[in-house]
Symmetry: C2
Subunit: 208 residues, 2 copies
Amino acid sequence: MKLQLAIDELTLTEALEVLKDIHPYIDIVEVGTPFLIDAGREAVRQIKATYPQLEVLCDAKIMDAGAYEAQLAYDAGADYVTVLGITDDLTIKGCVEQAQKQVRQVMVDLICVENFAKRVPIIEAFGVDIIAVHTGADQQQAGRTPLEDLKELKQYTKDVQVAVAGGINAETIGDYVALDPDIVIVGSGILKADDPVAAAKEMKAALN
Amino acid sequence: MKLQLAIDELTLTEALEVLKDIHPYIDIVEVGTPFLIDAGREAVRQIKATYPQLEVLCDAKIMDAGAYEAQLAYDAGADYVTVLGITDDLTIKGCVEQAQKQVRQVMVDLICVENFAKRVPIIEAFGVDIIAVHTGADQQQAGRTPLEDLKELKQYTKDVQVAVAGGINAETIGDYVALDPDIVIVGSGILKADDPVAAAKEMKAALN
């Protein structure tokens, strides 16, 4: 089970500073969508160059031009790129084709996908590497969590890896681990903790 | 009727070079999604600083964290930011609230929205400024155009402005102009023309 640190609201300078102490406790560094808007794929490039032993995920949330946008992320050094599950099949297929060319991985983000029973088997059949349930920040404000979504997702997947994101913290991580996802994605639960390094260490320990 | 130039596949240096000759013929410069992934919001900042007389749109295709991501774009100087019509209502509302705070505009991109009759009136009621029909690049490859979508959109809008994007070029622009959109968005139709400046000039003339 891998721990993915989602960096959303930091500058590239701040992110590199935070990673100095946290990097031993995480497996994947996520350049989150707002971070990507702020810094562009240079963030992926610098994080990968600084921590080649870590995997880097570019949370581009691709909605169109799948092959082209995936290539932008992979060329910068990303091991994973995200594409939205609600988008056109052609876009997801484009990402998968590009990933296969560059020997990288595609994570599909199910944010706002309503019918898992219908959509998940179609997405898995495209050959994606990971399917992630994700309760967005705006939905979290409305009190939702991704726990039920993770349970439901696991009913419809066969061999694809599964990830979960959306407000997971030290108090709740055990509930998610019990459902045996392949990747647990944590952002604020680490970065906004009183002691981010201790929080990362605790989260990592909870996964083992 | 405004002409929006979508810049998708250029570097920031190339974009600034292209704009030197094209800027007199366009109203809005779009920092397209792949361009944003490549260069981050620095692209918005530099284009707005160089051409303060033009409007700049940041095609962030916001899917979550509406207020936060819209602010990133507006703070960099964007006059418009895009949010996806298929996303959560809370995210669109977050963008609108942020736009009102900063006196900027929100464009909703209907890419992959299937039921216009149901979704368009809801989106308009949130107080967005523009609703755009958009045939994605991957869908264009499959032979689709946004012409029928524009006709359909206009049946369901009241006062909101309307935009159209998706493979429009010098041969087809007349068909779109006949439907009287407020903004016509052109990318490859200008940037991949044999003579981009002549193409921009011709497109602009077609709108008047």
